[in-house]
Amino acid sequence: MLKADGVPFEVLDADQCVAAEPGLASAKAKIAGGLRLPGDETGDCFKFTQSLADMARAAGVTFRHGISIDRLEAEGGRIVAVHTSAGRVVADSFVLALGSYSPMLAAPLGIKLPVYPVKGYSITVPVVDADRAPVSTVMDETHKIAITRLGDRIRVGGMAEIAGFDMSLSPKRQATLTHSVEDLFGGAGDQSKAQFWCGLRPMTPDGTPIVGRSPIQNLFLNTGHGTLGWTMAAGSGRVLADIVSGQRTEIAAADLGYARYLRDGRKGQRQGSGAALPA
């Protein structure tokens, strides 16, 4: 197996692509080749998050749903409470993980998070012919669209639309997704039952998320995961928890935090170096 920067990969010709993904058989003529990354995985992020939330609840975590967060109350260089539609909630530490909406909460505190919403779309269709369906994820490099098998469904996702917080669902975008999957895996799914969706990727300009401390001692950031929030979720959660706990993180994390956006002169002035940040 070949490796680039430690990532194993295989370069495939059209026949090998079809061997890896037999559902592509009828589209073989359109394929010039492929690149397979055997170390990658797939899965339903929603199912995962719901299950993990259930397990967290069983482990004692309290979930308060249906409550909107209005602002953070700072006093003496610390956050003392979060103001919500259900009143004021106090705590020792706060973790900001509001995805694309994180900058709004941080801005009044003087923390300028360079996170901007980049809209993407997906359709989810039930599999009707498993032989024609993808086995794992196939990325259509031409349209920048990913086609993924999730149990008895096919998820087709992609596109980058820079349109602020607009959440409208235009049929034109759905047509692009339908076109891509039907072109490669024609007849695999029932398009009449497609569920059309859009979401706002919390993107940073440098692609790396913002995980770790903030200039406020007891406010921690875990946001800006952009196109890869599902890929990076478990690791980001673990790194963040270690930092909150004042433990040494298992991977270097100093350059994953907000400090990288501060000008050199201000880097040393971050408050609350209670926990040793790994170099």
């Binding site: 170390g39 990658d40 539609s85 490099e141 692609g207 929030g229 298992e250 270097a252």
Partner: protein
């Protein structure tokens, strides 16, 4: 399944989970704002570290916004920034394609313009290399944490561990990753 995967992780990628049963961590009351996949994983590991955790979210359940129906890839192999050398030119081309992968709404506000300017500044070869190395480091660690989580909890989520396949329709596309991957 998790346990088997566990053994597949190359030795150099294993991390010592010496602090999972945290000793000496002051127990705190921690509020996590947001119950997307990021807020929930944060809450999980904070609870495991012994903290008293509350998660707050405006939706009636977890993962109902951006974490709801993404493309489902856990892809350390493709963890690279969008801001890359050559992207500004390609972006222009993408916008005018039929079935365009990139759509830029004409309404331009300050937040959008300054963010896009910062993104352009990250399109140099040097910035790309630094950014990519950070993303890959976190993504690979994350996949390993996920394997551990599966082994530990047996969590299932229509998961598959069969890799991903990037498909090229032209010879030009075939040549590009070869160059990037230096093969």
């Amino acid at each position: 399944m998790g346990a088997r995967n566990h053994q597949e992780i190359p030795q150099e990628r294993r991390y010592l989970h010496f602090n999972t049963g945290l000793i000496g961590v002051a127990k705190m009351k921690v509020v996590v704002l947001g119950a997307g996949v990021i807020g929930v994983t944060s809450a999980w590991y904070l609870a495991k570290a012994g903290h008293e955790v509350t998660v707050i979210d405006r939706q009636p359940a977890a993962a109902l916004e951006t974490s709801f129906a993404n493309a489902g890839e856990i892809s350390p192999g493709y963890s690279s920034p969008w801001a890359a050398p050559g992207i500004p030119v390609k972006a222009l081309k993408w916008m005018f394609m039929e079935h365009a992968p990139l759509i830029l709404q004409p309404k331009l506000d300050w937040a959008r313009l300054s963010w896009m300017a910062r993104m352009l500044m990250n399109c140099t070869a040097d910035a790309y290399a630094v950014n990519k190395s950070r993303m890959v480091r976190l993504a690979e660690y994350s996949r390993d944490c996920l394997m551990d989580l599966r082994a530990e909890t047996g969590i299932s989520y229509d998961e598959r561990t069969q890799g991903t396949l990037q498909l090229f329709r032209t010879e030009k596309q075939v040549a590009r990753p070869r160059r990037i991957l230096r093969c």
